[in-house]
């Protein structure tokens, strides 16, 4: 796919209008939809999911700003649509390896919902 754009740099500019928590995964989702809308060739879709680990060990997906502050650790994963591969993992705070695996599993399940949302948006665009 790289040969389609010789001597090219593709720049994405993301402007934050309001931040209600989960900023990084929100930016990732916006970036993916922008690339889809522009018609640029991609190998797969990708999405961002944020998990917050609360002090008592429960996992919270897509935390609000308040929940992020109270959490023990915040993990953000970028997941691709092809076999739910993990593209990026970002951690703030400390957690054990098992907890990270649990968060990853939960994030992968949530990614399916986001990909379905992408497809519905594209479908709505095409049937206007």
């Amino acid at each position: 796919l790289g040969v389609l754009h010789p001597r090219t740099a593709i720049t994405l500019v993301l402007q934050v209008l309001s931040d209600a928590g989960s900023l990084l995964s929100c930016c990732l989702n916006a970036a993916c939809m922008a690339l889809l809308d522009a018609g640029l060739p991609l190998t797969a879709l990708f999405c961002g999911v944020t998990c917050a680990l609360q002090p008592d060990g429960t996992i919270l997906l897509d935390p609000t700003a308040r929940q992020e502050q109270e959490a023990r650790a915040i993990l953000t994963f970028a997941i691709a649509s092809s076999e739910r591969k993990v593209l990026m993992a970002n951690t703030k705070g400390s957690c054990s390896v098992e907890e990270m695996q649990q968060c990853l599993a939960a994030a992968q399940r949530a990614a399916d919902t986001i990909f379905q949302f992408y497809r519905d948006s594209v479908r709505r665009r095409y049937s206007k």
């Binding site: 010789p6 090219t8 018609g39 060739p41 991609l42 190998t43 879709l45 709505r124 095409y126």
Partner: protein, 294 residues
Amino acid sequence: MAAVSMRLPAVRAPLDSSALRGGEKHLVAPGDTITTDTGYMRGHGTYVEDDKLIASVAGVVERVNKLVCVRALKARYNGEIGDIVVGRITEVQQKRWKVETNSRLDSVLLLSSINLPGGELRRKSAEDELAMRDYLQEGDLISAEVQSIFSDGAVSLHTRSLKYGKLAQGVLVQVSPSLVKRQKTHFHDLPCGASVILGNNGFIWIYPTPEQKDDEAGGYTTNLEPVPLSDREVISRLRNCIMALVTHKMMLFDTSILYCYEASLPHQIKDILKPEVTEEIVLEARQRLLDLEG
């Protein structure tokens, strides 16, 4: 003082498209497998991995015999040999011009691929190279045909026919290349009094129909006579009709533009761009097109 009308944003009701849509569309997203059958050739918007044909853009799957391609709604123009394009000169280089055609790379117009003024056919000499700027300058609009495609995807153009060349007075409309229907000819003389060139790259040129069929200088003399008001009104109306069709993502070809123009005659030219008038015109045009087919 003229009155100004303002509108506040509101939720738009979705157009009742289910009744008018013909056939199911196979929509895919990047990473979706289109087919695992290896008998297909891959076209634009796809790539092959592990013997599977996978989509690389979000769009509709189009299949022509053995060729499978995915067409995105809004994407840069991919050149095909034989396409008509309308482009703007961006650079004048040593033996060629660089033309902007809404594709990933600037298209190339070689000095050896143009017709000299006067229609003469001769080998281009060094004086011709120095006089390149007299023929085509930066900012000029030309209509040309795609001659070949370089290996990196850049398109090479030629104007080796009297119907191509520099464009004079008219209106340019830039739309997405996927909305221009592929037809036998892209130069149309509409009965309403204007002519239109539907470039495959999404650049549409509307201009007043020339009175006499010019077989003069091979398309380099620019006709700068003032255009009469009636012609200008026709051209503005056509331009607004094309914008209306584009907002409703309808394919652009001479019949659809003509039906939309006729449906818009009862309205004032500036009203065509209002959302409710646009919907009404496009619905009527769509209905007439369906009646034409069925």
